[in-house]
């Protein structure tokens, strides 16, 4: 436990805040459904778009199901899918981004153009295309979003690594005869963790927005699974009544993205 505190003190405060926030959301995604008062598919009330009550804490949805329970499940899917795709895209992007600074020039020429190509395709369009052809499963969504956000991560980490690779300690490691992967993972990566964490946080936000967009269009997470975007879509009729069923999921999306964004901004100042 003491070690953990010692570690905590070593991390700069900006990074610490963003890590705390991300792990809080992850915890909610893991534990949330266990706290749900009702099963997500159970119709608990005859009243649709019901108001907040003791029985249904956040009201009921368009079928009279408990919104609070559905929301907790929705957060699990949104956070899990986005975190996995972000993890995938950033791992690949960061590794390739650093690697191209220590490999022969032609590798970056080829890979760089490939990434440019991917970057030039509008992300929503690309996602629609893939989902339309490959079907709407969670793994397909994760993989698609990972591919969409990899080039950005690749660019950022390459720019950061280019500055570091010129340092004499990298030269010293090369003169010692260290392998490329050692140089990438142990010499370069530890010196860029802070800016990279901000980048990862940003990509997570993009992923949340893209997934919500896709689900809102009906191409994302499919019933009986539910995520924040599809919650908004299925309850869109409640808009006319100002029902909590449409307002609350929208607010949660905003809370998730804006919250992380603000934390990142504070970390940067």
């Amino acid at each position: 436990m003491r070690d953990l505190f010692a570690l905590r003190r070593k991390i700069p405060p900006g990074t610490r805040r963003i890590l705390t926030l991300l792990s809080a959301w992850l915890l909610l995604a893991l534990l949330g459904p266990m706290l749900a008062p009702h099963p997500p598919g159970e119709i608990i009330s005859g009243e649709v778009f019901g108001p907040v009550s003791a029985h249904a804490w956040l009201g009921t949805d368009y079928l009279g199901r408990d919104l609070c329970s559905r929301l907790l499940w929705g957060i699990r899917y949104t956070v899990a899918i986005c975190m996995m795709s972000t993890a995938l895209s950033c791992c690949a992007g960061i590794f390739l981004g650093i690697a191209t600074t220590v490999t022969p020039v032609w590798v970056e020429r080829v890979l760089g153009r490939l990434m440019d190509g991917l970057l030039s395709i509008p992300s929503l369009l690309f996602a629609l295309l893939v989902v339309a052809t490959a079907g709407e499963s969670a793994p397909a969504l994760i993989l698609t979003m990972a591919i969409i956000y990899m080039p950005g991560s690749y660019r950022t980490s390459r720019a950061l690594a280019l500055r570091i690779v010129r340092m004499d300690y990298i030269t010293a490691a090369r003169a010692r005869g260290e392998t490329r992967s050692f140089i990438i993972l142990w010499e370069i990566l530890p010196n860029m963790t802070d800016p990279l964490l901000s980048d990862i946080g940003l990509r997570f936000i993009y992923a949340v927005l893209l997934l919500s967009n896709l689900s809102f269009l009906g191409l994302g997470v499919q019933p009986p699974m539910v995520d924040l975007g599809s919650l908004v879509r299925e309850n869109i009729l409640g808009m006319a009544y100002g029902a909590p069923a449409v307002v609350v999921p929208t607010l949660v999306i905003a809370l998730l993205t804006v919250g992380i964004n603000l934390t990142l901004d504070r970390g940067r100042v």
Binding site: M167, D168, A175, E178
Partner: protein, 622 residues
């Protein structure tokens, strides 16, 4: 006697930490400068010398403020002036010459436009007249082609020229006081002499009162009348320049003076000349650009360089910036590929690329590079950095590696607690020691030291050189010592190679560097190292016959690729052979000298008759 022109009383400058208490940077400093005098502010980095100089212009760096004291400059109470008053005062009454002229000029404007700026900004004179005045100042500064140099851009001029242009800019408004902030520190010694001379003559001609910030005591001896020794923002000693240099009273001043007089290595330690050399470099060519008819790069950084490093001895490589010293280090350590030539290390051929060398070869040849700030990974602890080398080369387990690491730290005279710290928490000297320890961790046969003391204060540098010499003796290491500093070179080296424009112009014993016959460039180089002696500069200027740095010798020819790179500056130019080459290498038996010159050693001896006597008189001073 008249009242002093500058009078500082009880000056304090404090810096405000973001969370912490205000940190005093300068504490209770008082001094006076009379009209026409030059005061030197001497100290190591962090002693507050630049901070004090800047307060004379009413300026404190961001985060700092002048918290107490009285600053009276030319009748103005600078510490009480408003921003508007200061704007009229700076650049007109007091002007400033900064350390690095290379970065102080705007690359997008011609130098004339920038030199005129202070005169036009202060409405001192019309543009036409200002231009005339600028040309006159260029001439006073001994700049080449004073009529036309103003139309050029900063990148077209050398560092020494820019430094003089910057001084011209400072003098445009005829200020009463000029602050020189380490103006020659970034220059080569051969250039420094000219710049110092130019500064000194304008100071004398125009009756300027100067404040000269420097850490180099030899420069103080040439230019200053009085000196103030600073440490940690307090005055240690104040007095006349001569008294401080020759008879310092305070312990710290004595330490500073002692560090500037590094004793040359005793000649008795010379290794056996006949023993097999540990490293032989032959006909090394490194270059870039398109290939020429020989299949070698047309633009060469190193051109057919041959050197040998005696086993157990130290070869010094000396030369000015841009002569190819660092490229040599990189080529030998395999970080820079070579176009031609061969390296033989302990009887084995060395591949040009480090990736194709064996682990054993990499272990036995270690590079210690110049900038200790960049060479230690800031994310690692010192212990981890040293452990890694031990694990990598000797396959040690974590426990024995750590024990060995602590032993290495002791060897380079660092406390064991350093092992847990990161490079950011160490001083420059400590980092350089860790850098040295890392090379030693590999248990090498040969270490390549590339300017290892260039970024350090003299006292710290002297201590590092001591440690290096001790370790070399204890461990039987061979060493290549690359430097631009003749003092450092003489302190540690047995043999010396003088590098100029990618050619080795001379190779000789370090002990005999200041006596006998030498290449004209070697002579210029050794004659340009400032001595801590008042009047040295006059002597140097008086005998400038063999070599005429910068201003040139009027031949106006550049050497061809195989010609002598010293042609444009040579005082004993010998015709077309010098330009076209190949320049013969002649052996002078005394001191095992190899001199690449078209003159025979006897002829050189005749052309440079004063050398012997001159150096006997002053040799002890260096």
């Amino acid at each position: 006697m008249s009242a002093p022109l500058i009078s500082v009383r009880g000056l304090c400058v404090t810096g405000s930490g973001r969370h912490a208490q205000p940190v005093p940077i300068v504490r209770d400093v008082s001094f006076d400068v009379r009209q026409g005098e030059v005061l030197a502010l001497i100290g190591e980095s962090g002693s507050g010398k630049t901070t004090i100089a800047l307060t004379l212009m009413g300026y404190a760096r961001p985060g700092c403020r002048i918290s107490a004291g009285e600053i009276l400059v030319a009748g103005y109470r600078v510490d009480r002036m408003t921003i508007q008053e200061l704007r009229a005062f700076r650049g007109k009454t007091v002007s400033y010459v900064a350390q690095n002229a290379g970065t102080a000029f705007n690359p997008a404007l011609t130098v004339m436009a920038q030199v005129l700026e202070p005169a036009l900004a202060h409405w001192v004179m019309p543009r036409r007249e200002a231009e005339r005045k600028a040309v006159e100042l260029f001439r006073a500064m001994a700049l080449p082609d004073p009529e036309r140099i103003g139309a050029r851009y900063p990148h077209e001029l050398s560092g020494g020229q820019l430094q003089r242009l910057m001084a011209a800019m400072a003098l445009m408004t005829d200020p009463e006081i000029v602050i020189f902030d380490e103006p020659t520190t970034a220059l080569d010694v051969t250039t420094q002499v000219d710049v110092l001379q130019a500064f000194r003559s304008v100071i004398a001609d125009r009756g300027i009162t100067g404040v000269y910030v420097t850490h180099d005591l030899a420069v103080v001896a040439q230019i200053a009348d009085r000196a103030v020794v600073l440490r940690h923002g307090t005055v240690q000693e104040a007095g006349s320049a001569e008294q401080i240099l020759l008879a310092p009273r305070e312990p710290y001043s004595r330490e500073l003076v002692a560090a500037s007089r590094i004793a040359p290595r005793a000649a008795a330690e010379m290794p056996d000349q006949d023993a097999a050399p540990v490293l032989t470099v032959s006909d090394l060519v490194v270059g870039y650009g398109p290939k020429d008819e020989e299949g070698l790069p047309a633009r060469r950084i190193l051109n057919r360089v041959s050197l040998t490093v005696p086993a157990g001895g130290t070869l010094g490589i000396i030369g000015e910036s841009g002569c190819g010293k660092s490229t040599m280090a990189r080529a030998i350590s395999g970080l820079q590929s070579r176009a031609a030539g061969s390296l033989t290390f302990r009887g084995e051929a060395l591949a040009g690329d480090v990736a194709r060398r064996t682990a054993e070869q990499r272990r036995r040849l270690q590079l210690v590079s110049q900038n200790a700030d960049l060479v230690l990974n800031p994310a690692w602890t010192i212990g981890a950095i040293l452990d890694r080398v031990l694990v990598f080369f000797h396959g040690m387990d974590a426990v024995s590696a750590r024990a060995e690491t602590l032993r290495l730290l002791e060897l380079v005279k660092l406390p064991p607690s350093v092992a847990e710290r990161r490079p950011g928490a160490l001083s420059g000297g400590q980092k350089q020691r860790v850098n040295l320890a890392r090379a030693l961790a590999a248990r090498p046969d040969l270490i390549l030291c590339d300017e290892i003391t260039a970024a350090l204060d003299p006292v710290v540098a002297a201590a590092i050189l001591d440690t290096l010499a001790e370790l070399q003796k204890a461990l039987g290491l061979s060493c290549i010592f690359i430097t631009h500093d003749l003092h450092a070179l003489r302190a540690v080296c047995d043999r010396v190679a003088v590098l100029l424009g990618g050619h080795v112009v001379e190779e000789c014993d370090a002990a005999s560097l200041l006596e006998g016959v030498h290449h004209p460039y070697t002579r210029l180089l050794s004659g340009s190292v400032p001595e801590m002696r008042v009047g040295w500069l006059d002597d140097v200027m008086a005998e400038r016959v063999m070599a005429l740095p910068e201003t040139g010798n009027g031949i106006g020819r550049q050497a061809g690729r195989d010609g002598c790179p010293f042609v444009p500056r040579c005082g004993v130019f010998n015709g077309d052979l010098c330009v076209n080459g190949p320049v013969p290498v002649r052996v002078e038996p005394a001191g095992h000298r190899h001199i690449a010159c078209t003159h025979t050693p006897e002829a050189l001896g005749r052309l440079m008759p004063d050398f012997q006597n001159d150096m006997e008189q002053t040799g002890g001073m260096i």
